[in-house]
């Protein structure tokens, strides 16, 4: 009984809220879908409501929105130059989605969308598909120069190109695995330490005294998770910018 109370994986279960079945495909509205919708609504509502007054001297919340805008804007301009600013809507949406999803996941009983690899992989594939499609559109086959480093001897070229291609294909994998692993590991750790508090305090007065330690740990971990939530959204956006830079300027 204690085992399933402290089951740290349980929080990641997908539950069907509204079962929908179309043509043999399971298109149910799940708790994951609910929280994705919530994420989008929260992010959009926050940005919309805080900037709707459009005062010249921003209030507190409006300056938060403006800071987010300038933060992502500078990041993109640094990584991909002014030409990269045409991708600003994409990068800003990704950043806000991941950030808000991570932060919402920190609330107790909330579902963490980004702790499922299929979600993060979907986002990463979106980024890489944009890079590939735009790269070919803009440079044609010149985009393939990306895979040919300068100054490599001809007889080594096939090997090096193969390795570069694998390295390129591994980008969406590492991009998605990083976000997913961070969120998953963080939430499992939090759950395990909180579980210690519960099971220790069931042991009587001594247990209650002892449970202070894991409780302190859980509090500290929550702060760490808050940092990780922001950090991972930031890293995701920075890497997106760097990959878009490859699409804009493949091999000078």
């Amino acid at each position: 009984m204690a085992a399933d109370k402290v089951d740290p994986i349980h929080q990641f279960h997908i539950n069907k809220l509204i079962p929908i079945d179309i043509g043999g495909y399971d298109l149910s509205f799940t708790n994951s879908a609910l929280f994705m919708v919530t994420t989008v609504v929260v992010a959009a509502a926050f940005l919309f409501l805080t900037t709707s007054s459009r005062s010249l001297v921003p209030g507190r919340l409006q300056s938060v929105s403006e800071m987010a805008y300038e933060f992502v804007g500078n990041m993109l301009r640094d990584a991909a130059g002014t030409q990269g600013m045409k991708f600003f809507p994409l990068v800003f949406s990704l950043f806000m989605f991941v950030l808000v999803a991570n932060l919402l996941g920190l609330f107790p009983y909330f579902f963490t969308v980004t702790s499922h690899i299929i979600v993060t992989f979907g986002l990463a594939v979106l980024v890489i598909a944009t890079v590939v499609v735009y790269g070919f559109m803009k440079h044609g086959f010149g985009f393939l120069k990306l895979f040919v480093p300068h100054g490599v001897p001809v007889f080594l070229l096939p090997l090096v190109v193969l390795i570069e291609v694998i390295s390129f294909v591994s980008r969406p994998v590492s991009l998605s695995v990083r976000l997913f692993a961070n969120m998953l590991a963080g939430h499992i750790t939090l759950k395990v330490f909180s579980g210690f508090v519960v099971s220790l305090s069931a042991l009587g007065a001594l247990g209650v005294a002892g449970s202070i330690l894991p409780l302190a740990m859980a509090v500290a971990l929550t702060a760490l998770e808050l940092l990780v939530a922001f950090l991972q959204a930031y890293v995701f956006a920075v890497l997106t910018c760097m990959y878009l830079n490859d699409a804009l300027h493949p091999g000078h």
Binding site: L146, V177, H252
Partner: protein
């Protein structure tokens, strides 16, 4: 020693090195410091922006997860490509073996790239400096 304390720029130290026939201990020491300084100005510029936000306690943790995920992704993708080739061409297990090894290569390349010791995709040192100029 007075003539040697030029700026730390790479061009300066390079010229200094060629005109210096005698190798003494403090001379070597000085060159090593110059080299370190000039390496320091070159190497970490890409990483610094990314690491600024990591200045908290999570710095090492974040770096570890980043590097390991880069490496694992290279190996996994290599093995995956090999497996698919095997399935399509019926060459099992050779595709898996060859591409797993290539995947290791790609994983190491990923790690070195994200550690900032190898140039980015299809770019030499030149373009990295161009990027800095753009800032």
């Amino acid at each position: 020693m007075a003539d040697k304390n030029g700026p730390d720029g790479t061009g300066e130290t390079g010229r200094g090195k060629q005109h210096e026939p005698d190798i003494r201990d403090d001379d070597l020491e000085r060159r090593r410091r110059d080299l370190e300084a000039s390496l320091a100005t070159r190497r970490p510029d890409r990483l610094e922006g990314k690491d600024d936000a990591k200045a908290g306690g999570a710095a090492g943790y974040g770096q570890a997860v980043k590097l390991s995920s880069e490496f694992i992704a290279g190996v996994v993708v290599g093995a995956g490509i090999g497996w698919i080739i095997d399935r399509l061409a019926g060459t099992s297990p050779w595709g898996l073996i060859v591409f797993l090894l290539l995947g290791f290569g790609a994983g190491v390349l990923n790690v070195m790239r994200s550690a900032g010791v190898v140039a980015e995709f299809g770019q030499g040192d030149k373009s990295r400096r161009d990027q800095d100029d753009k800032k």
